[in-house]
Symmetry: D2
């Protein structure tokens, strides 16, 4: 079943596990999928930036997609961002045939004007085909492409196959409110809005009306709980849990290979990954950074026992 604008909840951005020698670790991949299912997420996104997609060739990428899609009944979204529409189309068609629910597309950082951005997504939507639902990724910090709410509305309106926004603008709270306002005033059809950016503002984003989270935080359980507690109107409880995680979350959310190194380290510590190896170019945690992470986890574990990891 293809992705629709009804998707909500938590859709983790999955890292890709490697053996220390660089081969894809399929056992860990399976374990991660099972783990995500077990904690009650609502879907999975693979082959995003966090998944080191650029370090997999086409065959490897499609192999990962096939394995994940084959193992779970959750909807799987596949990152198909590519330098050209031909490669994007090719990957999108391949993974949709395997049973992916939809694809995610980020804009190239060379786009400047509103017209250029809108044209890009029209061309992308045409390239992958109108039957392939796609997620619009709005992440100016990483992609250097700024989209106003009005531009997002335009993209959504021009492309019926755009069903979800991965919102990770920063600051971004008013943007969410504006977009939800467009829906209420009838100027934009409803789309799903799930937030990224490591979840750094999930506590308030959830209150502003987003449908969930689509990010790579190493404790997706917290994302699930915060989204649920907010939906249930239990504001203080949501913030209490979120705030307990925030010192570590902030540390994890450092941009680039360091943030990935932290996440993989914690996945290893949690027994999900056998190794925290990255493919090259990679960045490893220094001993001091490792100590800092352990310190943060120990402090978190005082409040959230799920962070209590065996020595």
């Amino acid at each position: 079943m293809p992705l629709t604008s009804d998707i909500r909840g938590v859709v983790p951005i999955a890292p890709t596990p490697f053996h220390p020698d660089g081969r894809i670790d399929e056992t860990s991949l399976d374990r991660m999928v099972d783990y995500f299912e077990g904690v009650g997420v609502d879907g999975l996104t693979i082959l995003g930036q966090l998944g080191e997609a650029g370090k997999l060739d086409h065959a490897e990428g499609t192999a990962v997609a096939r394995r994940v899609i084959g193992r779970t009944r959750l909807p799987v979204i596949v990152g198909v961002t590519a330098p050209g529409f031909a490669a994007m189309r090719s990957l999108a068609r391949d993974v949709m045939e395997m049973g992916a629910a939809g694809v995610m597309i980020a804009p190239p950082n060379t786009l400047r004007t509103d017209d250029q951005v809108a044209a890009y997504f029209r061309n992308a939507a045409e390239a992958i085909g109108p039957d392939v639902p796609f997620v619009l990724q709005d992440y100016p910090l990483t992609f250097s492409v700024a989209m106003t709410p009005a531009l997002i509305r335009r993209i959504v309106t021009e492309n019926p196959s755009c069903v979800m926004l991965k919102h990770e603008d920063w600051p971004g709270l008013e943007k969410i409110t504006t977009l939800r306002g467009y829906e209420r005033d009838g100027s934009m059809r409803r789309i799903a809005i799930l937030v990224g950016n490591g979840g750094l503002f999930l506590d308030f984003e959830a209150e502003r009306g987003v449908d969930g989270a689509n990010t790579g935080y190493a404790f997706p359980e917290m994302l699930v709980d915060v989204v649920r507690l907010t939906r249930e109107g239990r504001r203080d409880e949501a913030h209490d849990l979120f705030d307990a995680h925030l010192p570590y979350l902030r540390y994890e959310q450092q941009q680039g290979p360091l943030g990935l190194a932290v996440r993989k380290y914690v996945f290893k510590r949690r027994g999900i990954f056998a190794s925290d190896a990255q493919r090259k170019p990679s960045q490893n945690l220094t001993p001091q950074a490792t100590e800092e992470v352990e310190y943060l986890l120990a402090r978190l574990a005082r409040t959230d026992p799920r962070a209590r990891l065996p020595g």
Copy 2:
């Protein structure tokens, strides 16, 4: 008399002459103004990038403006691009009181979305005051801000005091045609369009309907002639003259301090400037570059005797 959208012809961007020790050379400044008047230009732009405006402090900048405005009856446009609206307002008010015809404003390179660019010019127009006519500078290559024709129309429409476009987009021919089309279809009021970019496409830009040139080419006589010949429908003659200049023009139009060094060198060779000194940070011509410029001038002089310079 303030600048209006009726301005047309050639408005050179003036460099600022310095003594070798860095002091402003007022004698050369006067000589340049007289020289420009003598070759039949229609105005002057001072304190632009080419005028090394950033290397003058406020007192020096206003002194240059006062001297130029006091010496010529041509309309003088003053560059007031500044990092903040307070400094922009301050300089704009000062030079308008001295008798400047208008000011020129370039967008800061941090602007991205159409809305940001439009807001910037609304704020700038408000800061300098609605009585101060301004020139909108559209130079993506240098300023990294891309403006579509529709965005320019929006800026023109939102700001009655915007009377002229300094067009230096590249490629830019279709942009001119589109803007002139907006005027014809009544969706934009008429503004003056003068071209910059060293004049690299003046031959065709003039045919596309611009009103003239607003650039720092070291032989403004050529710009004057090409604009006139095109207006008179003498296409082949216009191109013959332009093409003769093109090898040197292209050399001069190299971006940054090198292009300025070439122009100052030629101004010195033509007897307009006593020295080709730049203020620091500066770039001088190497002996090989000097030889190349001399070679190009000698070749040009075969066709255009105005390039025949005394050894």
Copy 3:
């Protein structure tokens, strides 16, 4: 007494108070200076980005500097970042004559190569004069200029008047460790390193060996305490206090005019500023954002009574 590399502790980045009609509010300015002195900071930085320096003209900027310098015996650092070296020199000389302790310089976002960045600071140091101590601002997120530790070492080595680094790279912990390592291995003379970036990583930055904080957090008391507790080896207490502030701190640290709006709002709530007005272009807090800030302050006040503000 001029700034030296011995500066340490907390040096707040001061906002500039305005009346609702846009005039500078000198009473609030005085009150802020007194307040900073009262909480035990070690210096003040004025006319930075947070101080809306671009919205003050030269006369206003120097008037603010004169008033602040005249009122406090703390060392005052003045932001002199400017589009050209002439304006930078002019402002630097003016404020040093008034008794400023030093100046702060950020690189223009057009710089790319290591050589360009190094040349820029050589030229800047020469422009302001070798007797004027300066703070090197390393803030890639805002200025788009990336400096490796080796490049910072080069700038420090080439410019004896560079006495302090305002470190706000992100991620930045390993950078601090590398720079301190350069000092230990003798390849770089010791400089002061104070951190910015809203203090988002101050807890660990303090442990990594920085000398303090140079940022605009609205509760500088917390910065003072965390720096002190860390220096005293009371790690858990430092983190307990920091973590209590983090949910609000993260909210305040949103980039651009929003972050400034939050800080000014809290300064008003704390009775330091009479108004939270910004000069245009400005951004005000929406009612929902105001509610979010109040909610965060109320939660913070449960742990830190200094955040308990009168209704």
Copy 4:
């Protein structure tokens, strides 16, 4: 035989011919290869930006490479620039097995510091394998990555498989002189330097010591002649020919899809391509632009009969 630093002469950047319906036009592809051979070029570069590489998927790209390599005995260089090293490696290995002479790599526009650029090329060279000769593309205008001569020397020194520089910096003449100086003073091994940038400065670049041209100008005969005439010391003849082409060359060298549209149009007019179709996203020549090109060709044909095209 693999590419070495002995390559010199003219190596055109080849466009890719399409049928109007978007299919690759293999007949035109063959005709182009034969045409290039016939005019005496020294190699071919395919799947570069000009070749619309991003609009071909992996299978199409390798099919084009196979066909071109199979048809010519000239060395064929293949663009393998990719968002990740896995795809780069995969394409590089594939085309080298087919008999390509080497590959061309451009840096991603996210790189900033010298260290980042150097690390990128070390990683790229390792990814494709030390046995694959590569061309370093230095094109700041398009790729936004600035490399000083010292950085290029570092890349050349760190990567024995880097055998050629595609030089298209602008301004760039002094850079060539500096690099050749490095070779003479023994601080850099000799590499081939071929120039791009549409050939806009080939006349002087050839005099500065480059080995030839590696660009997509629609009359490669001119490039061949200018390189040869300069090598033979016939300076005035070289410039006479170059200057005759310059008005059209400048028009063709407009950045982006417009420049490609002009080249394809002229290839069609010359009978090399059956169609000037681009794959989407594309830009077609307007009637006015077509008239301008025809006018320029007619003027050029007065001097160079090779530009005399059948009506």
